[in-house]
Every structure is written in C-alpha cells, then in structure tokens.
C-alpha cells in the first residue's frame, strides 16, 4: 500500500472508558482506499468497542475521526452510514420476511406516481447483485437464501448506502469454506472499486488470505500495524497474545495420573469441532489451548453433551457411554463451568446460596428439596473453602465481583462432587488475586484425584496447572504437549505452526 495516497479514514487518539475499565486507549486506525485491513485481537482486546466508536453506536470519550480529510462525529449507525461508513455484522441485520430486493431498497424504493415500482426495484436489485457475482431472484424472500447470500445482500446494502468504508464484523464466522471463498471474491471486487474494507475475524488463515495490512489490539491499545505480506503467523500470534510469555512459571510436581477415567474415540460434531481422540485420567489436568474460535469451547460443550457430538464414541472407565445431553453427563458426575457466566452460568437475581445449591438440587430432583440446614451447611462450607467474599449468603449473586461469581459457580459444581470437571475459561475477567486462588484450587482438586479439562486463552495459566496441553487450531486438534514440553513459547509455537512451513 503506497503511503503517499491520502487515507480514506483516519482515526486518532480514540479512547473509550467504561466504569472501572479503559476499553480503548489512544487507538489509531488508518485506512487507505482499496485495502483490506484486518483488525485482530483476542476477546476483550477492544475490537468491537473500536468499531462501535467508529460507527457511532458508542459515544467515544476522546479522539478524532476523519473521513476523506473531513472530521466527522457520527451520533448513531445511521448517520455514520450516511457519512460513508457501512457495517455488516455476523448476525445478518436484514429482514428475513421481506424479499431480497426490498431489503436492498427499504426506505428508498423506486417510485412511480407515488407507488413503489416493484418491477424496477427487482431489476435494479438484480443489476446490483450481479456486480457481486450473485445470480439470484431478488423477488424471493431473503430467508429462502443461505446465510452467505444474506451476508452478501447485507454488504451490498451497506455499500450502496455508504460507499467509502465497509466494516465486516466476523462475516465468515458461520460460513463454510466455499462460502468464505465467495465472500472473499466479493471483498476483492469492492476493493477494486476503491473501497476500504475493515475485516474482523478470529481465523488467522483468512486474515492472511485476504488482508493487506492488519492492526492488532490488546487490552484496548494498538500493539502494532503490520503489512501481512511481511509478517509470519508466529509474529501475529505473539503480538495478539502479548509478551508476558518470558517468565516461566514454576511447575510443581504433577504426580502420577491414576486410571483412565474417560476416553474419547474420533469424537466430533459437524460444523463445530473436527473429530478428535482424547484420554483423561484421574488426577490429571488436561489443558486446551488455542486462539478464540479454535474450538476450545466447542470441545468442552461436546464432551459435556451440551452440543452433543454426532460421531465417535466415549467410554467411561472402559464402559461405553452416551453423552447426548448435559443431564446424562451430570448423572455420570461430570460438571461444566461455562465460559460466559453471565448468560450460561449464574442466575443473577437469586442469592449466592441458591446459586450454589442449584445443580445439587437439580440432580436430586425438584420434589425432594434439600433440608434447609443442609443447604446452609453446603453453602457455608464452599464460601469458606473457596474464600468467596460476600456480605451475606442472601446477597443476589449479580452484586458480587467477577472473581467471586466465578468461585460461586465453581462451588455449585463442586457441591455435586464431580468426578470430571470441565472448566471453560475459568479466569476470564477476574482480578489477579482471585486468579491465583482459582489456579491453586485447580491444583488442589487434581491432587485429590479429580480429572479436569480446562480451556483457557492464557498461556501461563495453562502452564501452571496442566499435566498435558492439547492445542487446537481452526476447530482441529493440532498438537499435544506433555510434561516438560509445556511452556508458553511451545504453546504459541504449536498454535502458530504453519503446516507447510519448513522449520
């Protein structure tokens, strides 16, 4: 990208604060006409906050946005669209109950004598869509076409209405390989017309395939902007994950794992996780490493039966086992602490006590309530054992800090006395102190002979407690590290390893 061209969009010093958090800190983004610009970063790095500041969905707290050299200050997505910045999200923001043509033209339908000119609208829609390489009947309902086609219609609408900058927020997340290629050809056509495209995705190979440059965010700051032709994947991953990798955490003796608890053969789910085989022993912590979207959560959910596997078989202590739903898993003393505790875990308005006994009570059956004294005893026990800090057991759990919520959630599953505990991102969004406590707790549970499967995006954390680390990429298991091989650098190397690359 020659730098003497004037940028189409130049954002400088963009800052955004949320109570107690700096979401964006002095972020700069420059877009040149005709380029595809990747926006990379782990979850919480500030990608979507940045997008929302650019489109006016959030009011930014500082900084300046220039579009074609003119400063703009969009108040909402509609006004930024008028100014020239169009956005397409992963979930298609169109109306499935209207025709494709109407979705393209809603609010600006061609009219004759005050009436909508259907025929012209369909004809124009066909012309527009053919520029995107789509040959479909625009008079049919939007919902009769695949998500990929709907995405392209959304892109066409955004481009028609804005026409300078197009922001694509994970447009390929729910597309299969051919559909991704279709999407790429559409993006290339657009850049050929001089549009600047911002491309957000978690799939690194897609970034390398389509993007010219990329800006990498971490913790609300720009780590760097690089030309992808000159960058290796390892470089990108290292930048995304940060440089806290140098210090090597001391590794305690892991002891000898016990008997095989659960073994999975060619276990997988179409469109979610490629078939894999895995063995988990008692007294063993298996770590799952990989970038976001690499299939960590999908693996956890498949093993727990939340998104049941559609192939392969599972054996529990040698006996065949069907993991078709979470209830079956719970019956075999499995437990899963999900990643998103706000939506999947805590029941915000119930008290801490009720949240802790929820799973135990559910397993007992609702018609055999636990005696009050027993509930009190269990709740008290775990509040003490896990050092959950709260005013009283009656406090609604949503008032607790993230770390304490997480511990209460852990307590809920520990109360069911599980043999196999699955933790998905157990330390996401909690403070450093609670972080260390949870790591210590995992270590203690392992020493007690429990089998654990822990998915995490934090390398040191995995190094600190894992007996083995399984590395995932693009929803596939790509490597396994054991014992002394486990180090943050080794994990990063395994994540980034390019198959064809000659070492």
């Amino acid at each position: 990208m020659p730098t003497d061209i004037t940028p189409v969009l130049h954002a400088t010093g963009i800052s955004k604060f949320f109570p107690g958090v700096i979401a964006l800190d002095d972020v700069e983004l420059t877009l040149y006409p005709g380029e595809v610009h990747g926006l990379l970063g782990e979850n919480g790095a500030g990608k979507s906050t940045l997008i929302k500041c650019l489109t006016g969905a959030y009011a930014r707290d500082g900084g300046k946005i220039e579009l074609d050299g003119v400063e703009i200050s969009p108040r909402d997505p509609l006004s930024s669209q008028e100014a020239g910045i169009g956005t397409v999200y992963q979930e298609v923001n169109l109306l499935p109950n209207l025709s494709v043509a109407e979705n393209l033209f809603l609010g600006r339908q061609p009219r004759r004598f005050g009436m909508i000119d259907q025929r012209r609208m369909v004809r124009d829609a066909r012309t527009i869509l053919s520029e995107y390489g789509l040959d479909i009947d625009p008079a049919r309902l939007l919902s009769s076409y695949s998500i990929a086609v709907q995405q392209i219609v959304a892109i066409a609408r955004a481009v028609e209405l804005s026409g300078k900058v197009l922001i694509l927020d994970e447009p390929t997340a729910s597309l299969d390989r051919d559909e991704v290629q279709l999407m790429f050809s559409v993006i290339r056509r657009l850049t050929g017309r001089g549009l600047a495209v911002v491309f957000i995705t978690h799939f690194l190979d897609q970034v390398q395939a389509i993007c010219d440059r990329a800006t990498i965010l971490r913790n609300g700051c720009v780590v760097g902007t690089l030309k992808l032709a000159e960058a290796s994947r390892t470089e990108i991953v290292t930048m995304m994950l940060g440089r806290q990798l140098e210090e090597v955490t001391s590794r305690a003796d892991r002891g000898v794992p016990g008997d095989v608890l659960l073994s999975l053969e060619e276990f997988g789910r179409r469109g979610s996780i490629e078939p894999f085989s895995m063995e988990i022993r008692e007294g063993e912590v298996v770590g799952l490493a990989g970038l976001l979207g690499s299939g960590r959560s999908e693996t956890c959910n498949a093993v727990f039966g939340a998104d049941p596997a559609d192939r392969g078989e599972a054996r529990l202590r040698g006996d065949p086992l069907r993991l078709s739903n979470p209830r079956a898993a719970i019956r075999h003393r499995f437990a899963l602490c999900p990643e998103d505790r706000k939506t999947d875990g805590i029941v915000g308005d119930l008290s801490v006590r009720e949240n802790i006994i929820l799973s135990l009570q559910a397993r007992q059956g609702w018609f055999r309530p636990l005696p009050r004294a027993r509930i009190e005893e269990i709740a008290e026990h775990y509040v003490q054992a896990l050092d959950i800090r709260l005013a009283s057991l009656d406090t609604p759990i949503r008032l607790l800090s993230g770390g304490n919520q997480q511990k209460a959630l852990l307590a809920r599953w520990l109360a069911t006395d599980p043999a196999f505990l699955i933790l998905d991102e157990p330390t996401r969004g909690i403070d450093v102190g609670a972080h260390a406590e949870i790591i210590a707790l995992i270590e203690r549970l392992r020493a007690d002979g429990m089998a654990l499967l822990v998915a995490s995006s934090e390398m040191e954390e995995l190094v600190a407690y894992s007996t083995r680390v399984i590395v995932l990429r693009d929803r596939k298991q790509v490597g396994e590290l054991r014992g002394d091989e486990i180090s943050p650098a080794a994990i990063v190397r395994a994540i980034a390893a390019e198959e064809e690359e000659v070492a």
């Binding site: 997505p77 509609l78 669209q81 992963q90 979930e91 923001n93 169109l94 109306l95 499935p96 109950n97 209207l98 109407e102 979705n103 809603l106 609010g107 339908q109 009219r111 005050g114 009436m115 909508i116 259907q118 049919r140 309902l141 919902s143 009769s144 695949s146 998500i147 990929a148 609408r157 994970e170 997340a173 729910s174 597309l175 978690h202 179409r270 469109g271 979610s272 979207g293 959560s297 999908e298 998104d307």
Partner: protein, 330 residues
Amino acid sequence: MRHSTKLPLYITIATFLLAYALCIAQFPSMLSTRVVANLLTDNAFLGITAVGMTFVILSGGIDLSVGSVIAFTGVFLAVVLRDTSIHPLVAFVLALGITTLFGAVMGAIIHYLEMPPFIVTLAGMFLMRGLAYVLSTESVPIDHEFYDWLQSLYWKAPGGGRFRLIAGIMLLVFLGAMIVLHRTRFGRNVYALGGSAQTAQLMGVSCARSTIMIYAVSGGLAGLAGIVFSLYTSAGYSLAAVGTELDAIAAVVIGGTLLTGGSGFVAGTFFGIMIMGLIQTYIVFDGTLSSWWTKIVIGILLFTFIMLQKGLAWVTTGRIPRASASAAQS
C-alpha cells in the same frame, strides 16, 4: 413453493371455496347473488375493522380497542344527529377525526413509553366504551333523510342480490389497503416492523412514525366501521359491537397472517371474513342449528390455522439449520 408466504393465503382461499361448495351441495339456493350480497353487507363493518387489524397484526402488534371505538362512533353519531343540526357528512368527518387521533395517541404511547400494545389498547378499549356510556346508555335511533338516502343506495345484480353502499365501502377499503400495504413505503415499513422492529430501525425505518400511523389507521378504520355499523343498524348503542375486536383478530389469523407479524396479506383477511360469514349463513339456511355453532366452527378453524402456520414455520426454518446452529456457537 416451499418458502412462499402466499401459501397460507391460498389455503384460506381454498378453504373458502371448499366450504362454499359444500354449502351449495347441501343447499343449492346458496349459489345466488342474493347470498353473496348479504354476505358482503352483513360483514361490512367487521371487514373494515379487520383491515385495520391486519395492519396492526402485520406490524407485530394488536388492537383491542376497535370494538369499543365502533360503539363509541355509533353513539356519537346518533347523539350528534339527535341533538344538533349538524349534517351527517360533517359528523362522519368529526367521528373519523376523533377515532384516527385516538389511534395515533395509542400508537404514540406504545412507541414512546415502550408499552406493550396489548395493555395500551386494552386501556383504550375501556376508555372508548366508557365514553360511549357517557354519551348515552340507551340505544339512540338515527332518523335522518340523508341516512335513508344512503341506505337506499344499492346496485341490483342479476339474480336479485342487492349490493349496498356499505358493502362497496368495505370492498374499497380492502382494495385501498392492498395498494397501501404493497405499493407504498409506509406499507412496506409495516411489514419491516413486523419482521424485527430493531432491525427495521437500524435500516433507517422511522419506527415512531410508522407505529403511530399504523394505530391511527386501525383507529380510523374502526371509526369508519362505526359509521358503516350505524348505517347498517340505524342506531347508536353503547353496548354494540362487544367482542368485535376478537372476531377481527380471528378473521386476520384465519386469513393467514402471522400473529407475530411480518407475514400475511389483507386479501387473506377478506377471505377470513367471508369464511366466518359463510358459517353464519349456513346456520341460517339449516335452521335447526344453534348460533353457537358459529363460535365452535370458528374456534376449530382458528386452531387449524395456527397449527398450519406453526407447521409452515417449522418447515421453512428446518431447511437451513446448519448456518444458524453454528452461528450460535462462536
């Protein structure tokens, strides 16, 4: 064919034709312009109300106030014509103005206060019924030469059927609604709101304006239905048209419009009205059946059509499961 939103409409039309054919098979005299003319005349006020209801339901809302608005309009006209020397045409304009404004205010409350339409229009229902009582608790006859003249207008079809003015008004309203819903931006916005109000807003549809207009249309058409009702009965009575809103909703649903909004046709509503009218006509012809059979058959029809919609929705969403399932994942 599978994704066609017109399928429920075709099913409604087929149901009507089948029902009519069965009626004729039993009572050949039902095949006459007289029966058809009466079908249109007797259901004129309900049909006009149902058109307004179609707008509201298509946008994902509901309007429970229409029955009361009809009663209010009738009493209002009767009282005004009895106590003042205002010409009926002026009274019509007044009544339409009041009811349209009333609908618009309900729409504004629904949009700006983010209240559920059910509650707002329920309040409107009580309010309008109460106002009707305030005007008069008794049935007030309307006696005016202009009314007599309007009632005497008809076109006599071969076969003896008399197509009266109010039937013509209803047909015009249906025609107008079809044009508005399918050929104007406002009409398409009604569908857009029913699809997803939030998305429509993001796509630049003014939800405030559309919602207010939708309920104004419903209120205004209920007012027109009130005028037609007063022409039909020559009286205004505050207890009239109780439950009409439910009949109108039933007609809209039988007509194939999705109760959740976004999909349906006003033509379907027309055939919904005709099916309901046909059942009543059949009962009159039979002579031995009680009138509650109407309710029973309408109940069964409603169930059938709701099941049908559910089934269709199932078939259409079942077709693209992979994309949505994995979208929920990441």
